[in-house]
Symmetry: C2
Subunit: 160 residues, 2 copies
């Protein structure tokens, strides 16, 4: 079970975008994060499709958050990039083989699928409780309160 690498870039991009209200181009975000520009843009498109960021075309265009960072959960970002289908997909083994159960008696999900779904729910809940603002605050605290200020300064100086 391997998560798409773009999830990391998307989360960092959202944290960065939370530090400004002006549009930031994908190429600028890629430069700041040291990631491939074209591929980074691809993941930002996914965020745009999910309604997490708003894209502006044109010369001073770029991406902005559609909502306050405190109202964007990490779960939304992960789902936007990595897809929202559950990791475990029941193939209905119970219906196959010599002891297969008829489909009409399988209204409830299989017990194994229920267990896996419960685990996924726990995972989702943990991520849903964390907002982009929380992540920005935690990153800032890790750097003794300098990281986000540096980001804001870099965004303005690089833009000017």
């Amino acid at each position: 079970m391997r998560m798409s690498n773009g999830v990391e870039w998307a989360l960092h991009s959202c944290v960065t975008l939370s530090q400004t209200q002006e549009p930031v181009p994908a190429a600028r975000l890629a430069e700041l994060h040291g990631t491939p520009p074209a591929y980074t843009a691809k993941h930002l498109q996914a965020l745009s499709r999910a309604g997490i960021v708003h894209s502006t075309a044109g010369q001073i265009g770029g991406y902005t958050l559609t909502r306050p960072a405190s109202e964007i959960s990490a779960l939304e970002v992960v789902r936007a990039v990595d897809g929202d289908e559950p990791a475990y997909r029941c193939a209905e083994i119970r219906q196959r083989g010599p002891l297969g159960i008829p489909a009409e008696r399988c209204s409830r999900p299989c017990a194994i699928a229920r267990a896996m779904a419960a685990a996924q729910d726990a995972w989702s809940l943990a991520l849903a409780r964390i907002s982009v603002a929380d992540l920005a605050a935690a990153i800032d605290a890790d750097s003794d309160g300098t990281a986000m200020a540096d980001v804001r300064r870099w965004l303005t100086t690089a833009a000017g």
Copy 2:
């Protein structure tokens, strides 16, 4: 994020093995579950490597559980088949780019990595609390107490 399909087969296989103490060949399990024999065997090998099942060669060989089903957690089975590396792997983006943080100041994991790890821990804990015996009991309850008896009967009749 997609989990290996073999996880489902492995869990069903463990539930089936919990219903008997005699070795069950991989081909027999594949027949019962309606899965490809060779590929099913491959995943059973993974369970064997992880010490969850014991393999016996020879004419009356097959697989048996190494422990009571109540002492085998679903997490162990999932990890044996799907690997034990976490889904999210931090690429240390914070160390890259113009605002990269020196490695010597990165003793703690990144805040984003911590959040993802916490979610994975919640997922793992949910699966660790469920044993193969629990799954067997739940499947049995779903079928009004006939499923596991049918499995036991099928295993004995097919073997004889």
